[in-house]
């Protein structure tokens, strides 16, 4: 097991193996999302209070879950990179940030669209869940801006890793905000068995589907990041020359 992890952490090995894993994540992921969306839109019964507007949860919940999970991946990878100086860890953290920002944006946008008919407003500044999620989007932006501002990759890795770790304090705040403070946002419903099975199953399918597709997207981004970081190494030069030789 350790041998496998150690080999996977090697940039050339990761670069070669990643494209083989991507289809195994992307294809089932897209199929699950397709079925989950179909069942969520057309099979699940309307909510007795929210009517059909509740169907927004089938994209809102996976996006919100991924926004937090991506941050944890970024923070843990950054910590591993800082402590054990594993090159691939910093590449994972750097590649995860834009994905996390996109999923956070999606969670905020879909939540806002749902809030308009349900709460009567697009946005509520006093709500702790909304505000803490927005702060996370700004932390993602800050992380990416900091990386872009430092030319030296090693220095950028260290500085951005510290920021990622500091920002991680926001993740439990987002999760528990609905319990700690008065919030318009509803409390936990998925894990507490408060949802009818006909509504819950498509949601769980979509969460799994989005997670698999996210895994495929992350692998692709990490692969590009590895190539960029290793652009001056011999293995990259040999690989490019070998591919050019095959092409002629």
């Amino acid at each position: 097991m350790w041998n496998f992890i150690h080999r996977l952490a090697s940039p050339p090995h990761f670069y070669r193996i990643a494209p083989r894993i991507v289809p195994w994540l992307a294809v089932p992921g897209l199929l699950l999302i397709g079925y989950g969306c179909y069942a969520g839109l057309f099979v699940a019964p309307p909510d007795y209070q929210q009517g059909d507007a509740f169907r927004i949860i089938y994209v809102h919940v996976p996006a919100a879950y991924l926004s937090m999970m991506t941050y944890m991946i970024m923070a843990v990878s950054a910590a591993i990179g800082l402590i054990w100086r594993i090159k691939l860890s910093h590449a994972v953290a750097a590649a995860a940030a834009p994905l996390g920002a996109w999923f956070t944006f999606l969670a905020l946008a879909t939540g806002s669209i749902w809030g308009r008919p349900m709460w009567g407003t697009w946005w509520e500044w006093g709500d702790p869940r909304l505000t803490s999620e927005l702060i996370m989007l700004f932390v993602y932006f800050g992380y990416m801006a900091l990386r872009a501002a430092i030319d030296d990759t090693v220095k950028a890795d260290k500085a951005s890793a510290v920021l990622a770790l500091v920002g991680a304090v926001n993740v439990p705040i987002i999760h528990y905000s609905v319990y700690w403070w008065t919030s318009l946002h509803q409390g936990e419903t998925v894990m507490k068995g408060k949802m009818d099975t006909d509504m819950l199953v498509p949601l769980l399918i979509n969460i799994l589907g989005f997670t698999l597709v996210f895994g495929a997207l992350l692998l692709r981004r990490v692969r590009a990041e590895v190539l960029f970081r290793e652009r001056r190494t011999r293995w990259v030069r040999d690989m490019v020359l070998s591919a050019a030789g095959r092409g002629t």
């Binding site: 839109l41 507007a53 994209v59 999606l106 749902w114 997207l217 190539l227 011999r234 040999d238 050019a244």
Partner: protein, 59 residues
């Protein structure tokens, strides 16, 4: 028809699903573009320096 109007919430519901699709497509497209861009830069660099002169560190 009611599946599309969603009891007057159709605009809200469908825009959310469309936005999710767009975000997934953008994420995939950005990853492809980045990969192609980095790879092309490396090719150009190797061509400019010549395959024997392009420095290769480690590994």
């Amino acid at each position: 028809m009611s599946a599309f109007t969603m009891g007057s919430y159709g605009g809200y519901v469908w825009s959310c699903f469309a936005m999710a699709a767009v975000v997934l497509i953008i994420c995939d497209w950005r990853a492809r573009v980045r990969q192609r861009q980095v790879y092309r830069d490396i090719e150009v660099r190797i061509k400019a320096l010549g395959p024997d002169n392009a420095p290769g560190e480690g590994q």
